[in-house]
Symmetry: none
Subunit: 414 residues, 2 copies
């Protein structure tokens, strides 16, 4: 199996001002290609330190993946360090310069002179196209070890890795495969879930099974190794089937599927439409729904009624109900969901009203209390949840929005 | 100034299944103590690899901080690797064993036999108490360089670092402080901004100045070192003042301040209220505004009008305008902002209508085209932006929402 080093470059990283997500992302992608990341090194924007790490890596592994330090400013030193490590000069690369000019032109802007340095390439290397940004990536051999350098901006880096680098790595990694799959669950705690699949999580098992938890979403990662892709896929399929058998409808999707995407597919399949009425989530639910490309086919829109007057004027919530029961109540959640369905003329509607904190709680209605209304063509149900008042505002909001999506999913799957 | 290496240990980290936050946290803490992290290395649970990194670090820096691999299971190999690096044996440490037994007793549980390995300490090292968990930390000298090893569980690690290690580091680092500050800007490209502050970004300058870019937000980090905290603060203040003088209103905040938070503070200061009307951002603008605790004081709510009917019914946009100009137009953006201010009865309103893609673009109205309406008590202005149709949906949405907040900020600061 091939061995990789992943190198992240940036003083904001070594000073701890930014958490690097490129390294873990790359390592996970490499695993999927059957390449094991042996070491992940983070260095500052310091040409000498970068050069040293590159040379050390070139002696210790089969392939080097590095990110960062390709920007246009004086603290972007990766190009120079790479040239130093290879013992060659930097040269202006005409097609990259052309791309830079076109990039700015498409945005109706003049290219600053400074950006020209981004078209410099070490003499023995070559540029990797970056359609999403100004900095091309670089590929070079360091003492015979292929080294790929990508921009640090995650969405530029990811595209470059997938389109420019993966095909080359696939060629090199032929012979053994390490495939990864993720199942996503909602509605069962991590330890309860772990108890149900304990035997599958035993060390040394192939596929390997592990869990991760993130604000109510419990992910299950499955890694299978095999001589061929087909065999690895078959092992993944078998374990996935067993996990689904044990966990049932708690599993809502796999790999890149999201709760909002699954809800969207279910709505599309039944030709139904959806609207939202949000209070404490403040637009987050609409944001999650519209993260999905094509959501305009089923999501008509929503109302963020942070103020009581807005709940009355836009959704037709009765003033008397607001006064008697308060904005955070079963009655108001129900009226909000029904109001949204009426105003937007949709088959389904979700409402969320709660106390996200950090202030505004009372002994009767503590921070973390949330009511979720689910309006279907048949009925409107309201669900009360308590998300833990010691949690930060953002945690309560994310959990509330995800719970609402999951409740609608379960309803649509009935 | 003292130099540190930070080492994170764990196969879940090198496989990219978990994002390491211990490394960045430690680097930030070390900076506050005047210790600069030169390198951050992540290695798998592999005794030989861990030993090699420890030895390499001991030759390259003044102090080593490592986390992870101190658990009770067979894949926890850090203790052994540390003993190997020091060339000594592991010995049972009676007080640590005592602590382990007490830890389980307090939870009314029997101590599993395999936890006993957590009381093993390299002969020339010593144990660091861990009141929050079972694994004690370890301190040892490797070729004269002090090395501290802590558990990987963040809340155990942090307490151990603060209570057991900081006092020792303070003694060693006496005489210098490294302080960090971040300024946030919006509205100027990274290279144009870099051009204006080029001399401040020169290598070797104190304070050090560098930039980072993330979807339109350009951050400027400033790091000052000095013999005392007061002197370092004074240097930061001086450089911050100079940066603000050169960049003017492009700077919107510092450290943990956000665009939405600054807008909120400006609205609060003038006793004004705000509402939103969103199309392509689908609730993201409302989400960003309500991320701020206390936003209910000025944010009345918003409407997500994804469908044209919703724009007509909820915001009073004229059907004729939608037909003549299309939903993504100057005229509709203006009507949406005015409609939101009217419906919610607010002083200010923001509207966003555009094409987030990946489909839906035309030659006249490409993906990435966004109109932003800003309604103030005095007037309504509409701003046209082109965010680049080659960008993913999420990037266009985030840029559009941030641009809208920034336009409102500039208006409120006039």
């Amino acid at each position: 199996m091939q061995q990789a080093w992943v190198i992240s470059i940036g003083t904001e990283l070594t000073l701890g001002q930014t958490v690097d997500t490129n390294g873990p992302w790359l390592a996970a992608q490499l695993a999927g290609l059957g390449i094991r990341t042996r070491r992940h090194v983070t260095v500052a924007d310091d040409a000498e330190a970068i050069r040293d790490v590159l040379l050390q890596a070139s002696a210790a592994c089969d392939v080097i993946l590095a990110t960062g330090g390709l920007g246009p400013t004086d603290d972007d030193l990766t190009r120079q360090a790479l040239a130093d490590a290879a013992g060659v000069e930097l040269e202006l690369h005409a097609p990259s310069l052309e791309h830079l000019r076109a990039f700015f032109a498409a945005r109706e802007r003049e290219m600053p002179e400074r950006n020209q340095v981004q078209a410099l390439v070490p003499r023995t290397g070559r540029a990797l196209p970056n359609p999403r940004g100004t900095a091309p990536g670089l590929r070079i051999e360091l003492r015979g070890t292929p080294c790929y350098v990508m921009p640090g901006v995650p969405f530029e880096m990811r595209r470059m890795f997938e389109c420019e680098i993966v095909p080359q790595l696939r060629l090199a990694a032929a012979g053994s495969v390490l495939l990864a799959r993720r199942l996503h669950t909602f509605g069962l705690g991590e330890s309860d879930l772990g108890e149900r699949i304990r035997d599958l999580m035993e060390r040394g098992r192939n596929p390997e099974v592990g869990t991760t938890a993130e604000l109510g979403l419990i992910g299950i990662r499955v890694n299978a190794s095999a001589p061929t892709r087909e065999e690895a896929e078959a092992r993944l399929d078998e374990t996935e089937a067993e996990l689904r058998r044990r966990l049932g409808e708690v599993v809502f999707g796999r790999d890149d599927e999201t709760l909002a995407g699954v809800v969207g597919a279910l709505l599309t399949a039944s030709g139904s439409t959806l609207s939202t009425a949000e209070s404490c989530t403040g637009g987050l639910l609409g944001k999650l729904l519209t993260d999905v490309a094509g959501s305009s086919q089923y999501y008509s829109g929503g109302v963020v009624t942070y103020a009581n007057e807005a709940k009355i004027n836009l959704l037709g919530v009765a003033r008397a109900d607001l006064e008697r029961h308060g904005a955070v109540s079963d009655v108001v959640a129900r009226a909000m969901a029904q109001g949204a369905a009426r105003v937007f003329g949709t088959h389904y509607a979700i409402s969320v009203t709660g106390i996200a904190g950090p202030t505004g709680g009372t002994p009767q209605k503590p921070v973390g209390l949330v009511f979720i209304g689910i309006r279907t063509p048949a009925q409107t149900t309201v669900h009360r949840r308590l998300f833990g008042g010691d949690q930060p505002r953002e945690v309560i909001r994310v959990r509330a929005a995800r719970t609402a999506l999951n409740l609608l999913r379960r309803r649509l799957q009935m």
